[in-house]
Symmetry: C2
Subunit: 173 residues, 2 copies
């Protein structure tokens, strides 16, 4: 068991510990051990995105100050300490806005998506060397999803966006 595997195993054990409601945001993702950072909803927005189909989500992807500086300057790889958080809300038709527009075409955020309301990446080139320097976390109602889910993160990021330091989101100016 190398350093990374040990850290991942330890994180997995921690993730199984019970958390009180007041500490739900401290729960760590299996495999990577990343937690939802305080105050991310106040961070700058990198871009919006949308995923139709079963998820039917509208999203905003937020970046902390370290990540935003890298986006603005085009720095790759992202420096250690960069955190990217994606928040998904259910795409909800707005009868009010449709009336205002005189057509049926307006959508607004409904409840947080129940499938994955917060997904995040944390950069630590040494700690997460085996996964491109990124630790991943996918949470529902503040609780991390399963180890099996987290085992899928890096493979997909590596297959599609390795050249962008494994980050899908592009800054929307």
């Amino acid at each position: 068991m190398n350093r990374f595997e040990y850290a991942a195993a330890a994180a997995s054990v921690l993730a199984l510990l019970p958390f009180t409601a007041g500490h739900a945001r401290e729960a760590a993702s299996p495999l990577y051990g990343v937690s939802i950072p305080a105050g991310y909803r106040q961070w700058q927005a990198i871009a919006p995105s949308e995923e139709r189909g079963n998820l039917n989500e509208m999203r905003i992807i937020f970046g902390n100050a370290t990540a935003m500086k890298a986006f603005e300057q085009g720095t790759r790889p992202f420096p250690d300490g960069s955190i990217i958080v994606k928040v998904g809300w259910k795409r909800t038709a707005s009868a009010r806005d449709d009336a205002a527009l005189g057509s049926h075409q307006a959508f607004v955020p409904g409840a947080r998506s129940s499938i994955a309301d917060v997904q995040m990446m944390v950069k630590d080139a040494r700690k997460y060397r085996a996964s491109g320097g990124w630790g991943f976390g996918k949470f529902e109602n503040g609780q991390p999803l399963s180890l099996a889910v987290h085992q899928t993160c890096f493979g997909c990021h590596a297959a599609f966006v390795r050249a962008n330091d494994f980050v899908f989101t592009r800054y929307a100016p």
Copy 2:
């Protein structure tokens, strides 16, 4: 000509003056005389939204610190100095993300919407008494749209969202 009409007329005249490219963001909207504020893209996000149809936009609505405090605390009417800025990007299908997801359902921001890339509201209860305390601005490529366009803003906001101090956007937690 009352105080408000005078200010509006003066703003309209100012809006007709030529601006160099370097000062494009200082152009003021007709009728209300509001300008695109510096740094709005770094403000907090109030919510995402989407408008299909001809516009086919995905949007983020940003608020300055004064507006965000009012959103978070539920303060209505919004205090003077509140500014809300809506940015629209063309909804663009992402072949890359579709490949990652194994389906055809992902959209990302394309170019800024050419029809109205920045729309904004500025609160000044006294200056804009005749329009619910809000001054409106709708810009394309940094330049304000016509007086006729700006004459439509308040009527629609008053008809649909008077009870929310004339603001359509709700905070997406």
